[in-house]
Amino acid sequence: MDSELIRRYNYDEFVKEKFAPWMRFDQSPPLGILAPDFPLLHLDGTETTLSELWSKSSFLIIEFGSFT
């Protein structure tokens, strides 16, 4: 993994020059075409993928977030 990307993504302080570059919803994937798929971990560390999750139900609601 790119250690510099990891450092920038996991910024250490909430200052505009560090958090603003990540506010890119306007560049997010469009509706109506296949969504990008990624590997994810369950809390017990087992691996899954976003596509495995969305394929199990009629719809998958995803809330992205953290403690704040």
Partner: protein
């Protein structure tokens, strides 16, 4: 969002919380430097803020989060064929519920033989600004998080 997950589970709707990165790093929940720490923080979401849905964890470089726009509190709805049918740059339970109720009704109309054509719509939704709860979240992360937020705006 927990209530929506429960209410629509019987309609074959799954709900997850995807842990990303600390938007407001503080003394108690600092910025992430390892997957072990990221998994620990994700575990704490269940106890500290009451997330009852399955909690999933993104990679340390936020590959999934970044690909979907990397805003701190987005919601998306994706169909079982992998097609995004709703996205919101902020999570609001009322907005999500109006969308999922509509989408479930679309499935029922199709099952009843109605011919439907997809179209694109944009809509501005409105959320309650709960400053008290937001600051409680910052305080949970630590005094550093409170200070930096107050200085940022």
């Amino acid at each position: 969002m927990n209530e929506i997950a429960q209410r629509y589970a019987q309609e074959n709707v799954a709900s997850i919380f995807l842990y990303t990165h600390e938007a407001h790093p503080g003394e108690n929940y600092p910025h992430l430097t390892s997957m072990e720490q990221k998994l620990r923080h994700a575990h704490d979401l269940r106890v500290k803020i009451g997330v009852e849905r399955p909690i999933l964890v993104d990679s340390l470089d936020g590959a999934c989060h970044r690909a979907y726009g990397s805003n701190p509190n987005m919601s998306w709805i994706i169909s079982n064929s992998g097609i995004p049918v709703y996205k919101s740059d902020w999570t609001d339970a009322g907005s999500v519920e109006s969308a999922i109720a509509y989408l479930i009704d679309v499935l029922k109309r199709r099952r009843n033989g109605e011919r439907l054509a997809q179209f694109h719509v944009e809509r501005a939704d409105f959320r309650t600004q709960d400053h008290k709860a937001f600051y409680a979240g910052l305080e949970r992360n630590g005094p550093k998080a409170v200070k930096e937020f107050s200085e940022a705006f």
